[in-house]
């Protein structure tokens, strides 16, 4: 047996900020993962998937990073029960392509399909269906992880090591390396959505509408314009959908109802200067985005149209230029919906431009101490790195935390350890579970060091 490929490389997250250098090893088997974990040096080791976290959770300066995309086999799919057994390095995209022909649907899909199963569990990702199906960890029946001592263990949500299972869900890879998992998928008749789009001309009404009958829809999210001020402040599009049934489709679509209809049309070249997104382009984008979707009920849309409009362009983060950008995502309790408006107003006053603004109502959270979703409003904005952004985010942190909110670790790239302690009251409980299986701190990442998670 040859040893896995290894190289020293600079790594950054999807936001292209704060790169650091690590030794990257690409293992192909759980045994190779275990060997790498045992051989980890003083700076420790962390797993990395497809690098879609915005900040630094899949970086480990001066240490080892495991490129998990080498473990990419789907071992079995059971069409009746919907259970799939697969390696942690399989992407949601690959899983969907393989599972759809069996009429199986991945219940939790974030804004991109370029996420590995290991990353999806580690960040306990959520999607537009959270209010109905919860987050990714809720659909994991079992997972196999490599612990700090190199031992390989299978964990289940209710089993004897349930605590470790739930510490690994949302645990940002710091409890061990997930190498394999069993997921329970949902049955669908078609790969299409029946979508209701509503153009709503101000924020208050947008939020009120989103509150009214979310339960009737499997998927619900709104995009809004954060550039236009005045009475149309926060005007937006509320899109909600259910899986289309065969009867909903056109005869043409009915011929191949489970078609994986999700093209990638182009890859964005790495040529954009900083400052591409400014007040002018931001206003233009917002206007076009708002205008492109007038109110329309019952439209049939494919995966790209409804779920992943950004996946149509590969490497779209390059459009923000070389300084990169950050995504600010938080959740506040339902009764503090006023925070959404305050945050947007502060952003506008500070002259920061965000074009991709997503607002959603979360349903119930799960048992994982570091899982992000909890009942409330979650807002997500993308802002290019520039002067004054650090100060603005500090101020937003205070507003969010004072309202009982918290930040999403998969998006986080700049807050303080204190903000995480306040936002995640069960952090200490998680730390204890982690310390019991990794007393020497073998698992480490830039995120963990920066936010003092370990």
């Amino acid at each position: 047996m040859t040893s896995p490929a290894s190289e020293t490389r600079s790594l950054h997250g999807w936001g292209r900020t704060a790169p650091t250098v690590a030794t990257v090893i690409t293992p192909r088997t759980p045994e190779e993962v275990a060997a790498a974990v045992k051989a980890a040096g003083r700076r420790g080791i962390i797993a990395r998937g497809l690098g879609r976290s915005y900040g630094d959770p899949a970086q480990n300066a001066g240490g080892t990073v495991l490129d998990m995309t080498g473990l990419a086999r789907i071992h079995s799919i059971d069409a009746d029960s919907g259970v799939v057994d697969l390696d942690a390095g399989v992407s949601l995209d690959a899983l969907m392509r393989r599972a759809l022909p069996f009429g199986l649907w991945v219940p939790v899909l974030p804004g991109t399909r370029q996420v590995t199963i290991g990353g999806a569990i580690g960040a306990d990702i959520h999607g537009k269906a959270h209010h109905v199906v919860g987050s990714f960890g809720n659909h994991v029946e079992a997972m196999t992880i490599v612990l700090a001592d190199g031992s390989i263990r299978e964990l289940t949500p209710e089993g004897p090591e349930a605590e470790l299972f739930w510490a690994t869900v949302g645990g940002m890879g710091l409890t061990g390396v997930i190498v394999r998992a069993r997921l329970k998928l949902h049955h669908v008749e078609t790969a299409y959505f029946k979508v209701d789009t509503e153009q709503i001309d101000n924020l208050a009404e947008l939020m009120a509408r989103q509150t009214q009958d979310d339960e009737k829809y499997a998927e619900s999210v709104s995009w809004f314009d954060a550039v236009t001020t005045g009475e149309h402040f926060g005007r937006g599009l509320l899109t909600r959908a259910n899986h289309a049934t065969l009867a909903d489709l056109t005869p043409r679509q009915r011929r191949n109802p489970l078609k994986f209809d999700a093209p990638q049309l182009l890859t964005v070249p790495d040529v954009f200067p900083p400052g591409m997104l400014n007040r002018v382009t931001g206003r233009l984008f917002s206007e076009l985005w708002y205008r492109k979707s007038p109110t329309k009920l019952g439209a049939i849309q494919n995966i790209t149209q409804f779920l992943h409009p950004l996946d149509i362009a590969g490497e779209w983060n390059r459009g923000y230029g070389p300084h990169g950008f950050l995504q600010y995502q938080f959740v506040v309790p339902l009764e503090r919906g006023d925070v959404i408006r305050t945050v947007l107003e502060r952003m506008t006053e500070a002259g920061q431009v965000s074009a991709l603004n997503v607002l959603k109502r979360f349903g119930e959270g799960n048992r994982a101490p570091l899982s992000f979703p909890k009942p409330g409003w979650t807002l997500c904005v993308d802002i290019p790195i520039g002067p004054g952004l650090g100060e603005l985010c500090e101020e937003l942190d205070r507003i969010v935390l004072d309202a009982g909110g918290r930040h999403y670790l998969a998006k986080e790239s700049r807050t303080t350890p204190e903000a995480i302690r306040r936002g995640y009251p069960r952090l200490e409980e998680w730390r204890k579970v982690r310390a019991a299986v990794d007393p020497a701190g073998v698992f480490a990442s830039d995120l963990a060091r920066r936010l003092e998670l370990i």
């Binding site: 600079s10 704060a18 650091t20 900040g55 300066a61 240490g63 950050l326 500090e394 303080t416 060091r449």
Partner: protein, 251 residues
Amino acid sequence: MIDAVGNPQSILLLGGTSEIGLAAVEAFASDRPMRVVLAARPSQRLADAKARLEARGCAVETLDFDATALDTHTAVVDKAFAEGDVDVAIVAFGLLGDNEEAWTDVAKAVELAQVNYTAAVSVGVALGDRLKQQGHGSLVALSSVAGERARRSNFVYGSTKAGLDAFYTGLTEALRPFGVTVTVVRPGFVHTKMTEGLKPAPLSTTPEAVAEVIVHAVRTKQELVWAPAPLRFVMSALRHVPRPVFRRLPL
């Protein structure tokens, strides 16, 4: 770690009583309190600096550091890294000296060369080694425009800074593959205790202004900066002025 918007969490100042160095630490700490290590010979000024930073909420540690004791440098640097990562290291110690004394007195000349150049190289090697292992970080070296073209009035000092400048410029390239950014800062005339009583040169500046330049350079990963910025063009022109003219300039 240095975060996405350029906030460091820890900083090491070699030359812990340097006015420019301390101004830079305070500028970084004005946004967020952080871990600070001040390396200098024990003095009242050092104690005052520590107290001032602690009042801002920083966790401050002082290390006994003597630039002339070359064989102690590695140990001092190791100690600074013992408590955790060092995100930003600033090499700020240096002597100005009296040029007329320095070019006529061997001991004085050697002292300047040792502190400004040899010691800077010595800590540079030690810092480079630690930062390389760390896989990230920022190293800032205080050079001077005096090193860009030697002037009759302070060429001994200028020669030491020229050496430092060349070393850290090369170190920039050597450490780049390891995720470490080295920034060479070339200030002009700065009003400090070191330059008290001297006639200020044109475009003179203050420690606080140089500190702002340093903070911005670290945040944006610039590798060579002048303070104030227009000096870049002034020095670029001065480097090409013919000697007979240069010698007559009132510099």
